[in-house]
Amino acid sequence: MPQLLKDKRVIDDAWTLLDTDSQSLPDGDILLTYSQWQTFSEQLESHSGQIGVVIEGNTEIEDIIEPLLKLPLIAINFPKFADGRGFSLATLLRERYNFNGEIRAVGGFIRDQLYLLSRCGFNAFKFSEDTDLSEVAKSLEDFSETYQVSADQEKPLFRRR
């Protein structure tokens, strides 16, 4: 079973990422792109497993957010690690839309971003299969103090010091 770093633990990842050219839905928990999610909307109504959607950094999330908030999982794709748009999207999901489900980082993000990603509200990280997840998990603990407000810290340091 593929592995996932979630809530600081290494767990089995039961979710299947739907192929781009897939014509039908597999059984079980599936993760699909926003456009696939629209294409398959009818079939999804009767799907027995869980459903999650992957969104891209340039998504105008304001326009599509309502139905997504009911999902158990929203994944945000990083086309490359230097593309920081996902940090803002996760922040908006947690702070503005109070999304409580899983926010999963997928794509080109790197280990050294884990601490900042988690502060923005990501709680699950999908690395390539050859990654030693318990080793990379150390980077979640890079800092123990922080100045700003963020998804995981509702008071800035100046209200705590």
């Binding site: 593309d83 971003q113 800092f143 103090e145 922080t146 100045y147 700003q148 800035p156």
Partner: protein, 554 residues
């Protein structure tokens, strides 16, 4: 100045350990080059033509004598015994070894310094006026605000991977000495009709390939909302700034594409959602941060008497009198002056200082300016709060260390980028041009008579030498593999910021100093009374200058 508490220490120390681990993993081959690149950049480490370069943050230019001694020590132990003051009030080491950078950072942390976010596509060091707190035309001391911005921007989780680098400057006075209109965000401290303090917010200024002067997007932002408003601007930029083409990625391009009005609306809309949230600044936080910038314990000085004595000393010593005139500035506190130590003697790359000079600077700061000093964006060093009766002594000591060249604000106080000698992007060398100009105009009476004149040199259109905003700007261009120089006139970075206009076809290396001399001749012939070069240019226009420089030889 601001002092770290346990929280600040902890964050900076953890950063050092994080980078030590990253460097070890990189050296062990566990991190790929392209992944290590932004990690080292966010810790100030560049790799340039000859060696790595480490840029150390000097928050809004403030330094203590202890920090300067530490820098001298670091430059001796880990480098070649000199450092470079940059145009963004930072300090660079030119020859550190990658393996030793974590140790350098650990030494810096001991004196409450770091290199966090001094390069890379993130929020950089916030800059301000070198005369903050003492300037006669000050509305409010900008430093507490800069410190609040420093803390907010340090390791901000959402904005570490922006489309491009991001620079903020704060101006607290009527005259602008921070070039704040040429920053991604420029903040002008203002008071509204009720006497309340706030900011006028400008966005989208910048130099580089597409120089643009910032646009005002909010006339008055009450001070307590500073951080949430910055969050809103950065969030809009982070989400919608161009990420496909690095030459179109600065916020200025987004602001221009959307228009400042539309950009302002997007920011306001974002801000509505976070305004009045927990990031709203509190009175106790204002008070806490402000308390780090107290006025020093001034002696009660008979201002008139002190001025008279000083005038008498100056009368009997021309060299001192020149220095007094060019390199010192009156303060709002009478009997005290700010002294600019010139880092631009002829023959030295502008902004370079040796370890010995750093130690002298630290000693002078301890002796005469309450142990503190400031880096300026013109690449000099300022000692504030010097008792006028100490000036003569200070001058003698500074002179002995080569720090008292009386050229501040003159043609020889130029801003100059590293250029072709060090930089792989250069079209042309810039340091030898600076030196040739300084040697050509070495007659102090002449330089003195020319008065205020900013001459800026960049070796290519990336504009690290700010050529667009020099009264005279020189830009290195490449013509068929040969070094040529374009001249621009009329740039300025004050409140009425303007960008220079191209004079005409570029000049070769051996024509450049003669060309400059002709420009100066036109100025001297046409000026009225003590009109400056810039004002004369603005009055008579570019034509006369052009005719003279390109007149066929007779």
């Amino acid at each position: 100045m601001y002092r770290y508490d346990n929280y600040d220490h902890k964050i900076v120390n953890e950063r050092v350990e994080q980078f030590r681990d990253q460097t070890q993993r990189y050296l062990a081959g566990e991190i790929a080059d392209e992944e290590f690149l932004p990690l080292r950049l966010q810790n100030g480490l560049y790799v340039q033509r000859l060696a790595p370069m480490l840029r150390i943050a000097v928050p809004y230019g403030m330094l203590s004598s202890a920090q300067v001694r530490k820098l001298a020590h670091i430059s001796r132990v880990y480098d070649k015994g000199y450092v470079h003051f940059t145009t963004r009030q930072n300090i660079q080491l030119n020859w550190p070894a990658l393996e030793e950078v974590p140790d350098i950072l650990a030494e810096l942390a001991e004196v409450e310094m770091h290199a966090i976010q001094t390069s890379g596509n993130c929020i950089r060091n916030t800059t301000t006026d070198q005369f903050a707190g003492v300037a006669k035309d000050e509305i409010e001391d900008p430093r507490p605000w800069c410190e609040l911005i420093r803390q907010w921007s340090t390791l901000h989780p959402e904005f570490a991977f922006l489309p491009r680098k991001f620079k903020i400057a704060v101006c607290g006075s009527n005259e602008d000495r921070a070039a704040f209109l040429l920053h991604d965000i420029g903040l002008q401290l203002v008071k509204n009709d009720n006497g309340e303090l706030g900011f006028e917010v400008f966005v989208g200024g910048g130099l580089g390939r597409t120089p643009i002067i910032g646009s005002s997007i909010r006339k008055f932002l009450p001070k307590q909302h500073l951080l949430s408003y910055l969050d809103a601007i950065l969030r809009v930029y982070n989400r919608f700034g161009n990420r496909d083409n690095k030459y179109k990625a600065r916020i200025k391009i987004l602001v221009k594409a959307w228009t400042p009005e539309v950009f302002a609306q997007r920011v306001e809309k974002e801000w509505e959602n976070i305004k009045d949230g927990p990031s709203t600044l509190t009175d106790s936080e204002f008070a806490r941060v402000k308390s780090f910038f107290p006025l020093p314990e001034y002696k009660v000085i008979d201002g008139a008497g002190s001025a008279k004595k000083l005038a008498a000393t100056a009368d009997s010593n021309t060299a001192f009198s020149r220095w007094l005139d060019r390199n010192t500035e009156l303060q709002k506190q009478s009997g005290y002056r700010s002294v600019t130590l010139s880092l631009k003697p002829a023959g030295v790359a502008p902004g370079d200082v040796t370890d010995k000079q750093l130690e002298t600077i630290a000693d002078l700061a301890d002796r005469y300016s309450f142990g503190e000093l400031r880096a300026t964006h013109n690449q000099n060093v300022v000692l504030t709060d010097v008792n006028e009766s100490d000036l003569f002594e200070l001058w003698q000591q500074a002179k002995d260390s080569g720090l008292a060249t009386p050229n501040i604000g003159t043609i020889n106080d130029m801003i100059c980028c590293p250029g072709g000698d060090y930089c792989s992007l250069a079209n042309a060398k810039s340091i030898p041009v600076a030196e040739a100009i300084q040697r050509k105009f070495s007659d102090l009476d002449y330089v003195y008579d020319l008065g205020d004149l900013e001459l800026n040199i960049s070796g290519c259109m990336n504009a690290c030498g700010h050529h667009h905003i020099g009264h005279i700007g020189i830009l290195g261009v490449d013509k068929k593999g040969k070094e040529w120089y374009q001249i621009q006139l009329g740039g300025s970075a004050n409140k009425n910021a303007s960008l220079g206009k191209v004079l005409g076809p570029s000049l070769s290396r051996d024509q450049i100093t003669d060309g400059i001399e002709k420009l100066l001749d036109v100025y001297v012939e046409n000026r009225i009374a003590d009109e400056s070069f810039l004002n004369t240019y603005q009055r008579i226009g570019i034509e006369k200058f052009k005719e003279r420089v390109y007149a066929p030889a007779t």
